[in-house]
Subunit: 287 residues, 4 copies
């Protein structure tokens, strides 16, 4: 709609108390900014935690940024004990996508990016298999093959960190079939989003479609979540389901599941790149 | 969550321009109010129309109301050429429900109201048939039977106006099978919400399920909308659909449709009573 | 559509092998019957288990029933090692509904039954609380209050068995908040359907909406299943979900959940009463 | 599941009368076939039209085909005044896809085909623009650019018929932005499936997302249908919708719509290629 130049997103979190919305909007108005959208949520108006996402237009944003940051710190953050971040929408997040052999999640991200649906730059695709190299390069994106075998995991992760360091703001696991080590997660310095092929917390771990078949569920699902050290336990960003029947075998569940997986992951990545997803303990707020 | 005492909703609409959010939140803060939620929408940041719904807590709201209204008028409305309304959530809207013979929409509203899901007072149920009298009175709600025949339509509407005048803030047509005259709509002095048994604008007019069957659609739906003089053309509040198949006959479509109708109408009434629905020409903004 | 008189449903299950469909349809044709619908499923054409539901019209069904049963046994069951049952649709299943204090599932069943949507007779409603007595009796259905305290559980179940014995073909737990003993399940002599207020197998046990809130899921669900001795592990009949957000507290999740629960339970009961649900180990086939 | 060799699909349609299912299954059993699935539908058991899809395994199908066809004609078709067709699943349908400039429907078909989800051979892609040539050829599929201008429409259609004649069993219009002439439809000799970017019959014609925005609907949809001479009036195969809000502009509706379009078209094409879609006047039966 509006050109993305001169548009900023301010994300804040602080203990709830009266006057936060007024103070934030006044600070933005004083700076010459015009609020486009504003979303807020409080876990409890009395004694809870307050979250707000404010999108505003401010002519000359890039030049004025130091002044804007100072005003936020001095007039808002200090007063309200606020954690905050400011994002210039003209600088899209730089993203690395990790994949293995299955293509549905990866292709959906590459294709949506190409048609302008995802506000991000894809810096690279990294895979432990060479199979998808040609598909990726067709989109003009660098592809790096980093083999991962049980014996070379540490070496592979060192290679990953070398590729990622300073180059990315987000890592997306698009059906990447390797578990990341706690050490990697600590060092990577960027949030990591994973797509799990079940409706978490049901069917954690491997083989969820077989488990779903055995249990006789009538819907299967997928879950996009931030990766933490606790496998399949990270904060959930988005989930969806599709109806199945007794007549669907595991192969068919897997095909249906692929449709849900790609849709859910693409939405989660889009929302993250739009700074809509705020982490709150083991959960998320999605504005 | 919070007790509804001392909570107000301010609904505003005005030409968009910078500073509205800041001015509104400052005015509320100056009055001693604390914003709980705030939603806004602009049809176009440059030259469009701006809409905002602000829910705030203000101790002693009832006593302070004249002062609050004056502040809004003087500090906001005059400056921004604003249309506005202020709602005290401790005074729920008074609602009249019109029904005929089918019970699904009516019962869903009565039952949700009884269990505390709908923030409204049901002042009365009016019907052109006596069939549902006992059902209604079981809920402790007054039931008025006003027969409507082609020859007595004018008389019936006069009776309706007599019942409604000064008593209701909203009229809900819960599958009321009579068309209201333009004269009635002009005189009733309250918005009227209708449930139409199709996914408008498909299948306007009578017999939508038969039409849906003939056309072979794979989904059927329902639409809750404000009633205007243009039949089935009023602003849409809410819609939903359900999947059907070739094997469903018209009777079965009607049964499936009933489930969608009651869900859609109940949501629309709830949202209206929470002042979430703002009219904008032939459309609505639903916060 | 067709009058339900003279319409039978034949449910069969046997090891899969060629010729079953032909044999069944020939037997029915020889008896003078006309197949209306026929559904079948094989877990594996080679060495799997075969299931079929056949609905057929046979003039004079009631009088011819012994002859029909003999033909099925001799021409089909003996040959294919078949388990089978024959249901005359003019004799609806007799159902007991167990409830506690919450009314949403119970009322939805009573409304749908009154409207003619559920092909069953409601023999009685049994509750461990007196709260819903008046609601139930308004529908002309017997209500029995059988208190259940930790010390009197055995006595209460003896009373239940006395009420149910010979009187019902199905027991429906419509948010009945007591766990049935293995002894009761063994003696009741009728299938028992329960509605669980989560998307099983997620959030088994008590308090699923609180657990869902804590885990931060983006959809909540409900599951109708047959009750077995393994709590929350019985074969699933139907499931559905509804989208929720971070802004919904546990009370709101509970309200949304109630809508899903009543819809899922009503569908499961309808399908069971239409003999559409076939048990297969820990899963179901739903035709 | 089972290898597709030796598996046939028999599609029949005839006036309903007793004994059809038995006769069909007996004929198949006599030929040595084993029924895998069987679906049937009658518009009315008394005097209606009967439809059946039977999938069966018959060892040596290819060699036995003439004998099978003779048996069907003599034992079934003549007796029941049946229209029928027999399909060998080892011979997938040959498909031509027509596209213009937008890629979402086309790519989804190509991806799913490559992944083995669609039981068809893609013979060619035809477009009135050259834009998608490279994308298509990456998949190893022939791409033909046939420009279509108002003055050369007849010439273009002649070229189309030349390309298609004898080469395809199905034509899929994957957002092909040209109207096919009645003469073309008459001569093409294969069914044509189109994806319309609205929930038909709402918003027929051009610009449906703008119309949807203007009307203020809360859901938008897409419809896959067989093409007939009556524009946007052909028998509907599949439809779906997605929820939208007042905040979505026409560009955003178009993006959401693209997701629904590609999902709906891919399902319709899959079902057609599996011989699940039977035409019945202006509607379809989808088994």
């Amino acid at each position: 709609m509006t050109d993305s130049a001169d548009i900023a997103r301010l994300i804040i979190s602080c203990p709830d108390q009266p006057g936060i919305v007024a103070a934030v909007s006044q600070t933005i108005a004083d700076l010459g900014g015009n609020i486009i959208t504003l979303d807020q949520y409080s876990t409890d108006p009395e004694g809870g935690q307050f979250f707000q996402r404010t999108v505003f237009h401010l002519p000359g944003l890039a030049a004025a940024r130091p002044q804007v940051e100072r005003a936020i710190q001095e007039q808002l953050a200090d007063r309200f004990r606020m954690e905050w971040s400011l994002h210039d929408t003209s600088r899209p997040k730089r993203v690395a996508i990790f994949a293995s052999k299955t293509d549905h999640c990866l292709l959906d991200l590459l294709w949506r990016h190409r048609r302008g649906e995802l506000p991000m730059d894809i810096a690279m695709v990294v895979s432990n298999h060479p199979d998808l190299a040609e598909d990726v390069r067709t989109f003009g994106i660098p592809f790096f093959h980093v083999p991962a075998t049980p014996g070379t995991k540490e070496e592979a992760e060192a290679k990953h960190l070398e590729l990622l360091e300073g180059n990315v703001d987000l890592v997306v696991l698009a059906r990447y079939m390797q578990i990341l080590s706690p050490r990697f997660l600590e060092k990577v310095g960027a949030p990591v989003i994973n797509i799990h092929h079940s409706f978490l917390p049901a069917f954690i771990g491997a083989g969820p479609y077989q488990k779903a078949k055995d249990r006789g569920v009538k819907l299967i699902g997928a879950t996009a979540h931030y990766v933490t050290e606790d496998l399949d336990e990270g904060p959930i960003i988005e989930q969806d389901v599709i109806r199945v029947s007794h007549a669907d075998d595991v192969a068919q569940l897997t095909r249906y599941g692929a449709d849900v997986e790609r849709a859910v992951l693409s939405r989660a990545v889009k929302w993250h790149c739009e700074d809509r997803v705020l982490r709150h303990g083991s959960t998320t707020i999605v504005f």
